[in-house]
């Protein structure tokens, strides 16, 4: 499964939301609250074996499914390169 599908499955199963677009803002659509965002971060760290810095927890990286998927892919390629 691609990161995007893994993440979508996790979000649907954990936050009981379906029917959301890849570019929908988690905050503006009310899909994920602050504790949920912590769960998502913890999930990303264990599932994709990457470590997120607190500075990276910003809307540009995490506020929609496509942003999270792009961010995870970028982090994975960075950790492979190093």
């Amino acid at each position: 499964m691609s990161p995007r599908e893994t993440l979508r499955t996790f979000i649907v199963d954990t936050f009981f939301v379906d029917d959301f677009g890849d570019d929908d803002s988690f905050l503006r659509k009310g899909l994920i609250d602050s504790t949920g965002m912590m769960e998502l971060v913890a999930f990303i760290e264990t599932e994709f074996h990457i470590k997120l810095d607190d500075k990276e927890l910003v809307p540009e990286n995490l506020d929609s499914l496509s942003r999270v998927a792009a961010f995870v892919t970028r982090k994975q390629s960075l950790s492979k390169a190093s």
Binding site: S25, L27, R28, S34, T35, E60
Partner: protein, 198 residues
């Protein structure tokens, strides 16, 4: 009935208006005056700003240099608030900061709190934890929610929020939400404000 004497209905209306004035104007002012007077007494060994009010029991102790800013509020509740500044320590609290009941604030070396902060019930701030002593800095407009613990050496950035029950062991950047044990921080724009359209 003689003209000039108020009717029963008019009397009742006047009495109700009087009670209303006492409830909304007189009593709150009296409570406030009492709170300010109580704070003056409780914090008599502190350098105290104007208009500091203590509405509940506060156990205050100052053996060092403690300065409280203007218009602080200490609310009352089921447990007393405790403010302690030990020998050789510095404790600074900025103006308009509010403390709910049960807050425990201890300075062994240095604790600085900015202006307009809010401390919810049972928050603990101490720059000594039995192993080390390291200064704590809390910048302006910080909100620390119920039961959070700030460990020695942390700096909380301006406008940040520490969520309930968190244990903060690392610095929290400005405009962040800190959560968990040990607390992690994320941008407030991500969870609480309108996300930027970047």
């Amino acid at each position: 009935m003689r003209p000039g004497l108020p009717t029963a209905a008019e009397t009742a209306r006047a009495v109700r208006a009087g009670i209303q004035v006492v409830r909304t104007e007189v009593l709150p002012r009296a409570e406030r005056a009492l709170g300010v007077a109580r704070a003056r007494w409780l914090f008599r060994s502190f350098r105290l700003g104007h208009g500091v009010a203590a509405y509940g029991t506060v156990s205050a102790r100052n053996d060092g240099h403690a300065e409280l800013g203007d218009k602080l509020t200490f609310l009352g509740g089921m447990l007393p608030t405790s403010v302690a500044c030990y020998e050789g320590a510095r404790l600074l609290v900025g103006a308009e900061t509010q403390f709910n009941y049960g807050v425990s604030l201890e300075a062994w070396e240095s604790v600085q709190i900015g202006a307009r902060c809010m401390f919810a019930s049972f928050v603990r701030v101490s720059d000594r934890d039995g192993q080390r002593i390291s200064p704590i800095i809390i910048e302006d407009d910080v909100w620390v929610a119920h039961g959070a613990i700030l460990l020695p050496g942390v700096r909380i950035g301006a406008r940040s929020v520490v969520s309930a029950g968190s244990i903060v062991s690392q610095d929290v950047p400005p405009d962040s939400l800190a959560m968990g044990n040990p607390a992690r921080s994320m941008s407030l724009d991500l969870v609480a404000r309108e996300a930027s359209s970047a």
